[in-house]
Symmetry: C5
Subunit: 323 residues, 5 copies
């Protein structure tokens, strides 16, 4: 378990046991962070007691299927967001991240190890000076910024996939069934993505609203606003992608209809070109004394009629673009 104690913006201690937390928390100059990964109810119980967390927030950590949200309790905030990763098959894999925010402590509770907390820590360390002045507000900003950046990367990946599908649509279709499967999967990923990214707007807009000055002071305001702008960009982009996919899908349907018509026209054309000679040789196969029966000129007649009809039909159909 990772723990950190900041004093005046500098990390003064790492890896201390949770039991010591209550001691540091009393000191207003200290900022404590610790991180839990899929904790047991007991572990959560200890922390909850140390920091005086609300039982409902603790319960929410243990339950799955939350949605991104921000709950305001008397003594702390409880935030749920989703880090978004892709699994080996390229499917969306959202990882829940629960955050408790008290006056001078930040507790991050990851659903599993796939949420890469090291990247968040690196981000914090990169601009350490802010920690001194803004404490918890800065740490929370770093975390949210990381999460939203991840969503931004993903929406770019999805954009790339849409472009690939567009190219496939008008290129050599190759494997049509494969195209459908990929479109299906992309849309499914989009639905899942929207589910975890749309409510982020609400979470951030609550944080940037001016009246919640306790956490976000005037100086940190623009930083949270910046994250909020990023969230808006993500959701705007996702909406555009939905429209592009719907464009894709509907064009695909129209193409299928067009191809069917083409095939039917061709079928009709060639069927006629084969059926007419068959009918003519049928005529010359009758056991009745038709003109030319058993005569060499009958053969020439038959051959000429067959050839003539075939060529005529072929020419006409070619002209009408039916072949």
């Amino acid at each position: 378990m990772r723990t950190r104690l900041y004093k005046d913006g500098v990390v003064v201690k790492k890896g201390f046991p949770i039991a010591d937390v209550s001691e540091y928390v009393c000191d207003d100059d200290c900022v404590v962070w610790f991180d839990l990964c899929s904790p047991s109810p007991d572990q959560l119980g200890v922390i909850s007691e140390e920091l005086g967390l609300h039982e409902l927030a603790v319960e929410d950590v243990l339950n799955d299927h939350q949605r991104p949200k921000l709950d305001v309790y008397d003594s702390h905030l409880f935030i749920t967001v989703y880090g978004i990763y892709l699994d080996d098959e390229g499917d969306l894999d959202p990882v829940e991240m629960n955050v408790f925010v008290t006056k001078n402590a930040l507790v991050t509770v990851r659903e599993n190890e796939r949420f890469n907390i090291d990247d968040v820590v690196a981000r914090w360390d990169a601009s350490g000076e802010h920690t001194a002045r803004h404490g918890v507000a800065f740490l929370l900003h770093g975390l949210l910024d990381y999460v939203v950046d991840g969503q931004f990367d993903l929406v770019q990946t999805l954009d790339g996939q849409v472009e690939e599908l567009e190219d496939a649509l008008f290129g050599e279709s190759g494997n049509n069934r494969e195209l459908q499967r990929r479109t299906f999967r992309l849309r499914k990923n989009m639905v899942r993505f929207r589910k975890v990214t749309l409510p982020m707007r609400e979470v951030l807009s609550t944080l940037v609203r001016r009246d919640r000055q306790v956490l976000v002071n005037a100086e940190m305001g623009p930083y949270y606003q910046d994250v909020y702008d990023h969230v808006l960009r993500v959701t705007d982009w996702v909406d555009s992608l939905r429209e592009l996919i719907s464009n894709l899908r509907e064009t695909h349907l129209a193409q299928q209809g067009f191809k069917l018509n083409e095939i039917m026209k061709r079928l009709t054309g060639w069927a006629a070109i084969i059926a007419v000679p068959t009918a003519i040789t049928g005529f010359y196969g009758q056991n009745v004394p038709y003109p030319g029966e058993g005569q060499p000129w009958g053969f020439w007649m038959s051959t000429m009629v067959v050839a003539g009809a075939s060529v005529a039909l072929y020419t006409v159909f070619k002209k009408k673009d039916w072949l």
Copy 2:
């Protein structure tokens, strides 16, 4: 009929007659609960008189086809919610639950026995300490929490059904007609589900709004907020499912179009491969002295032409992926 009398959070009496209610209700330390199951108008009349319920609320209990709602009367609240169960065929079966909430009495009126009130009671008993402090507000919370949890379970079941359909879509389609029937049913259940779950948002948001402090005090606030969050999760999820089903349905349509094109291409291909030999043998069946008539080399000629044309067509079509 179940009745309960709480005093200081402890059940002091059970199964007393309704007529005694007015007596207990006067005592501010008491909390009375009683439960009715598809009551007769007379039974309701008695209760209505004892508690001073509004005639319109009582009428609403007797009518079917309500929607989830919260009516505020001078002396009491009237709430309608729906417990959601699945019947034997897997179809949605919402059961109406009407609740009268006065200062220290809670009356639950179930449409029928399928609404499992025992589970609600068990939930109440599990955290008895709250009853003492919050009385009716706690009991109501337990009931609503149970109802929303039931909706949450259902949305998970529906999610599972959507996944099954997705697997069926790209797997061996087996019975296409069955797939359509299941999709149809799933969508129908979704529509019915939305009808009873969407208005829940309004009911809960009215309860959590701060100005209705009479019922929900500061301490109970987060608990009602928690139920509200659950409702939002359910409705968000239902919206995602709707999109997933629409993805499913549209992919299915595209697949059908694709299959039709495949069938038509094959039809065209094989028709040509059979029609060409027929035309050739028609030629050799004519009663005119064509080259090779009655000659052994004529037979070899005919056979070679037939075989050659067939093989050529087969090769070409196979190359074009038409067979």
Copy 3:
């Protein structure tokens, strides 16, 4: 023309001429109601003068194609609602009802006799005691309640029709064209219905809003709220029905696509089973010395090849579920 004079909630006079109205209206204890059915401009002129109605409201009565609305004039309200009936062919037939509401007079102006004002009167008489206390507000409530109940009945009828169509969809389709016609008609009725029922929400929400206490006092409040709830139920239900119909329609389309594929597969299969023997007998019909020409074993050969090919194709296709 029907007229009524209430005094202290009791009908003291009926059928008096309009010209007397101005006299009763001055008396605050009196409540006057009169009903007009498709009145002439002159008749309206008289009433307008007696009660001091605004010329624009009077004009609106004479024009068709209103929408449900509530206009607030200085001295009176003007309300337009629609009673909904079904005509002989089962099509929706909305009948306009215009209402002038002054302090102690209610004027109902029906578009035609199909709006059954007798039912409204019966409703008023059933709970006469309210009239004494709430006067015009009670009469108006009775009228609106009747109108909304009618809409509720209709939405139930439409619901039944949707269920019938659902049964027809998966049952023996019988007459496909008839199914389409009924779906078309149902949707058309839905559109018309929404047109007269959606604006009702606005009309009633205006009436229940607390600041319009002049007409709807604290005691009548819940009654108007109740009508409003009914309107919401109707519009919610209509929205559900729209989704159910869209489910119906799209499943129908998918079924058609499925059937087309089935037909094409069968067509292909049987075409092959007939075409192959034709090709083979074509071979044996050639006038060249093929093996077995004119020999009995040639006949057996031909018959066996034909039978063998047919049986083989039939078996393969049956296995692939193509026949």
Copy 4:
């Protein structure tokens, strides 16, 4: 160019030059109206100077492609609305009408002569008494009322066209291609119509809002409200029409699918009835000693088999409703 000078509601002068306007405008008892039709920038410049119009408003008059709007400048209002006419081919032809409204002057600037200003003038003259009391507000009301009435007439025309299409859909389809063309055109007209009618709601709602009492006083209020109601009716109706057309279009598509299935079924049926005899006579055409070769009973046999097979197939298909 038309000009009018009202004094106490009476037209005292007509056709005076624009240059005189500034003189009359100073007199509070006067109301000046003048009308321009596709004026040159110079003409507009003169008027702009006389009345002190804002340069942006004047620019807007010269530019095309405005949308209905109401701009509030310090000394005057600038309103853009669209008169709607049908051109010779029945296509929508909106004509821009720009209006400057100062305290006692109304300037109407028409895009072209098709906007029939004479009808507006006739409307004004019909109820001259209002002019005396409400001056410019009354004139503006008359103009807007005329414009909205025109839109109302058009929506009725469109409604009639939708009904015609509905009749054509289930009647003898006659010319299917023509039906598509008309539906396409109708929808196009609807889009154009919505573009000029939807923003009208905003224009009117701004005018009726109570705080803009300068122009619309208490007495004129209901008249503007009336126009607003008409606008709402138009937009409601247009929305209904959109749904009806979508019903129409989707039913049309379902019909096409149905017809295709019918045609395919029939094609299959008749193909079988013709192909089977061909196969049988092929058998009897073989040059091998099949039973009955060259025997009269062979002919009867062949004929009976052909006839039997054909009749059997016909009967079976007829029963299955495949022919």
Copy 5:
């Protein structure tokens, strides 16, 4: 790099180095503009220091994929808009333009040279008198006006493309596949266009809101309102175009369905007309003593039956409009 120093609305200096800026900025009578094109981080750093720009705003300049937005910082505004151009293939090519607005300085940062800043400068110079009175507010207005005018031009271009497609739809379809490709591309451009034009509404509505009087004073108000009106016109128009394209697309689909039905009907018809003679000559090709075998009248019989059947079928099908 372009720089300008205005004093009392007159350009007094051009092309001075950035380092001098801080000096001019202190003078309240001066207005400084300078323009950067894809600047390096270092260049931005210098300017940021001179003008005291917020680090987040500077970062946003360096990142791609912004959305049009307006950020309010303590000492300056930061605005992102998109100039819209078409690339050589006719695809949309939005060019980012970032603007810093301080009390008396305007910094424009273009993504690349395709954003034509010369046109903006020309616009400023055309009405120089405003610069004197409104300084930065006037310069910003000129820039935004230019950007929105560009969007307006584009929406007109797109409108023209929609009309072309409409003509192609009902004209000689020529190349159907080409039509689909163009529709696809047009829709894609529309999606991209909406992405950069919709958020413009928000940017401008923030600027015109009265409480932000620092930048936009009473006199400039109408000018910003005018740009806002233009933005609304653009977004309204885009919405109309979306509907027109959807009309186009759905009509296209219906046409395809119609054509398929036509082709199938024709196929059926001609197949019958060829198949029936084949069956008849098959009959006369049998090696059994049918009536007329080897007789001249047999030939006439066969020919007459063939001709008769063909003519009869042709006549019937022609009548039913099946050919």
